[in-house]
């Protein structure tokens, strides 16, 4: 699976239940290295104790 991008894409599409033609699988597999690079960069970040959030709070103005 790791060595054949088309097989990776084929399995991911099947897992998600999205039918793709061989032509579209081939096209999508050419995008895979770009996504893998993004995934690798995100994996490299030191997240510490950070937890996901969807809420923001005001930021008090800092003293001058």
């Amino acid at each position: 699976m790791q060595n054949d991008p088309r097989e990776t894409v084929r399995r991911l599409a099947a897992l998600a239940g999205i039918p793709l033609s061989e032509e579209r699988i081939a096209a999508l597999s050419r995008t895979l290295p770009l996504v893998q690079a993004q995934v690798a960069r995100l994996a490299d970040v030191d997240y510490g104790e950070a937890e996901p959030t969807g809420r923001f709070r005001p930021c008090p103005e800092a003293p001058r």
């Binding site: 239940g17 994996a43 809420r55 923001f56 930021c59």
Partner: protein, 466 residues
């Protein structure tokens, strides 16, 4: 006053005339409808024009104001909505074939608030299909052309909003911004567009692209006009889980203080000035100098994790968009335009772990910017886009990646960001300056934008032939 002059009034100017009964909302609405009739075949800003409803609302405004029931600065003002805001009884296509015949039963919260403020809604504006792109090239309803040069794109995804406001077809509009879709068309069309803080404006009844990143915002010809629209639509909505309970200030009143003497403006040291077109760079540097002349203290600032922010945006937006469209993509993929279909399919490639890491990165950036960026500056200043409007022939994936580069980090961080006109290229295309503030501090963002617009006239220029 000629119809062309009337449609290029600011909202504040038109409101003053309406309030003093020197201008009729019906006359103003008819002037906008006339411009739509004469220009829209060339620009394709509208998908649906609600002529009869608009004239009826304008007539109601006349009667109400005559009876002493003036509702405020949007009463009788013709505005328009990106065609993903639900409108009761009026089809809401989201720029798609898939929902081409969808007629909502209820208004979106933002639609309802504009109606409550007495605004006259002219119709539904063209957009990039399902808001999933920033060129405004729509395979189902046609590309929206840039009013400054119709051989160039208007930008998107709020393409019709940008073109309609720039061309004087509406005095203001609503757009949505998931990676830059308010600010990019505002920059490319030479108008003012604000992405407020995440949670500031309700998203209920707005067709989603990415729940975590979607923002609703005003698009107008000045910061003062954007402030009036924002005031009307902002505020808590218990029907939107992400809606904030932060109180909404009187933005228009905050603009009265045009002094920038104590304002600290940070210019990003990295990322935002890399690979920028020379004319854009010169215009933005010039605009920052104007802010300095107005009294702002300008300094350089570093933004932690800025390089990873676009990766996080992709790792959130693509899976969320795929999740929303999953059933349609499985059952009727042929009904999507090819660019959207390809983007949705790309969402298959992101693992769940990256989605969660991206959400954690969001928290990390917010905390670090809170402590290390906004402890020393009140605003950030940067180009809105690295280039002016690409030509229609250039409107491809590469153009998309270029256009979102400076806007999508702020969707992740959730801070308010405005784009204002700050110059033109030698080819006559507008250039945008982006000002970014603290969470829920739209007032300072708009105040700085307004002060800049009091000192310059870029925002007063109208496209040729309009």
């Amino acid at each position: 006053m000629t119809p062309a002059e009337v449609t290029h009034l600011s909202i504040a100017e038109a409101a003053d005339l309406i309030h003093r009964k020197k201008l009729s909302p019906v006359e103003l609405t008819e002037a906008c409808l006339q411009r739509i009739g004469s220009l829209d075949a060339h620009l394709r800003a509208f998908i649906t024009v609600t002529r009869q409803e608009a004239l009826a609302t304008a007539q109601q405004a006349v009667s109400a104001i005559a009876g002493g029931n003036y509702r405020g600065p949007l009463h009788g003002i013709p505005l328009a909505l990106k065609d993903l805001f639900d409108t009761a009884g009026v089809r809401t296509t989201a720029g798609s074939r898939i929902t081409a015949d969808r007629v909502p039963e209820e208004d979106a919260e933002a639609t309802a608030r504009l109606k409550a403020a007495g605004a006259v809604l002219l119709g539904k504006l063209n957009m990039h299909e399902f808001a999933y792109g920033v060129t405004g090239v729509n395979p189902h309803y046609g590309a929206t052309f840039n009013p400054w040069d119709p051989t160039h794109i208007s930008g998107g995804s709020s393409s019709g909003s940008g073109a309609a406001v720039a061309a004087g077809m509406a005095l203001g509009a609503l757009g949505t911004d998931t990676g830059g879709s308010v600010r990019i068309p505002s920059s490319l069309c030479g108008i003012t567009g604000l992405k407020p803080t995440y949670g500031r404006v309700s998203r209920r009844g707005v067709v989603p692209l990415s729940w975590a990143l979607d923002h609703v915002g005003p698009m107008a010809r000045s910061a003062a006009d954007a402030a009036l629209i924002l005031k009307a639509i902002a505020g808590h909505d218990p029907g939107d889980e992400t809606s904030s309970e932060e109180p909404v200030p009187d933005y228009a009143k905050m603009l009265e203080d045009s002094r920038l003497k104590s304002l600290r403006v940070g210019v990003p040291r990295e990322y935002f000035f890399d690979n920028v077109d020379a004319e854009v760079l010169a215009a933005v540097r010039g605009a920052i100098s104007v802010l300095e002349e107005l009294g702002a203290q300008v300094s350089e600032v570093s933004l932690p994790h800025i390089a990873e922010a676009p990766d996080a945006v992709n790792a959130i937006m693509l899976p969320e968009a795929l999740a929303y469209h999953h059933r349609w993509l499985a059952e009727r993929p042929q009904d999507y335009g090819e660019d959207i279909r390809r983007r949705l399919e790309t969402g298959l490639l992101y693992p769940a772990v990256s989605y969660v890491q991206a959400q954690r990165l969001r928290s990390l950036i917010v905390e670090e910017w809170r402590e290390k960026v906004f402890d020393g500056v009140d605003l950030l200043a940067a180009p809105t886009t690295p280039v002016a409007a690409p030509s229609l022939e250039e409107a491809d994936l590469e153009a998309t990646l270029t256009l979102v580069r400076f806007t999508n980090p702020f969707n992740l961080v959730g801070v308010p960001a405005v784009s204002i006109p700050c110059g033109f290229t030698s080819g006559g295309l507008p250039i945008g300056l982006q000002l970014v503030g603290r969470w829920f501090d739209e007032g300072t963002v708009l105040r700085a934008a307004h002060a800049y617009q009091q000192a310059t006239d870029w925002h007063k220029r109208a496209p040729p032939g309009t």
